[in-house]
Assembly symmetry: C2
Homo-oligomer: 210 residues x 2
Amino acid sequence: MTKAHKAAPREEIALRKHTVVRDEILISAARLFAERGYRAVTMDDIAATLQYTKSVIYYYFKNKNEILWQIYCRTFEKYSGDVEAIRDKNETPEITMSLMIRQHALNVMKNPEWAAIYNKEESELNPQQKQQLSRMKRNYDAVFESVFQRGVSDGVFRDIPPHVAVGASLGMCNWLHVWFNSKGSLTADEIADLFASMLWKGYKAENASS
Amino acid sequence: MTKAHKAAPREEIALRKHTVVRDEILISAARLFAERGYRAVTMDDIAATLQYTKSVIYYYFKNKNEILWQIYCRTFEKYSGDVEAIRDKNETPEITMSLMIRQHALNVMKNPEWAAIYNKEESELNPQQKQQLSRMKRNYDAVFESVFQRGVSDGVFRDIPPHVAVGASLGMCNWLHVWFNSKGSLTADEIADLFASMLWKGYKAENASS
DNA sequence: CCTACCGATCGGTAGG
DNA sequence: CCTACCGATCGGTAGG
């Protein structure tokens, strides 16, 4: 109703609506996929929860697979962007590692449904997508591993193979999608802090100063 | 060909064969479920890998769901039996907890496919099965939690809510089904030991003697 | 233990 | 001519 809105070109408004509807579909689909599993959800189910017809969904997404793949891509972009931002602050390995683990745990708890899909539905992707996902995962893990390796070199972390230390941490956090309860006695922040401190102790070298 | 075999009654032989074939089907089915996902595997697929026809599978199992449920039950029985045996040795909380985490990690690594199914396909169970599974999981977690709680009472573990401490440990171990590689540089035993020691440090109370 | 087939339901697409 | 959608139905495949 403001002039600014009136002035916006037709295409921009259309694009904005397109984005809004795509997001809406992704969120609804993710909820259903997390609850019933990807294969058990029909395009009609997705459409019905939004009171659309199936054809509307096909207007916004090429097919069912593209919906799933978008969930994977957006999840990866969020997680990856967050840990890279932390890495780029150039703090000590201990502080960087703590912040990254904290952030990963928070991301899982903030969106447990998307985390569940990310961890369960890999077999539904096509070969090219699987390959790309495994590259994405390798890159993500590498960010953690290089920080851990620096900590080992500095003598502040125990000399554990980095992929084992990182696999342990990410596993601990990823499992939160199963049991974290947003109405539980502890908040997401409190759990994230506990995890970071437990792992920090588990990583610490015997002779490192506390 | 020995007398002992000859002497076995017909029914016993039949029963033994029945058990062998059921096991064989479960193992094949589990491999396929883990690789492609339960819904993506057809009864024909399961039959084909064993060079049976689909009807043979239906002779040994009522339906596809019963195969999946058997995988759940057997997995639970193995895990549960192992940790209860450790609990019943009545060691200190620290030793008991270490042994239980070690055993859980080993069970995941010894059979990563069954662990993957156990953690991914819950949505394919029917309501009664889901309810029973959630009872089974609660019981399993309770064994760990009561040991942890004793450790807190004794002042050897930090005062963390037991379900958080246990969720962290089991998550760390369960995630092994994703990245553990039996041909990797570390053996399952070495990884299990590392996990137990990392968690033991993470649990330890500040003022506890080492 | 196999062949043949069912009831149903799926993802995806047609014309208007 | 393009966009956003609807009602109807396609070919193919699932468990049993």
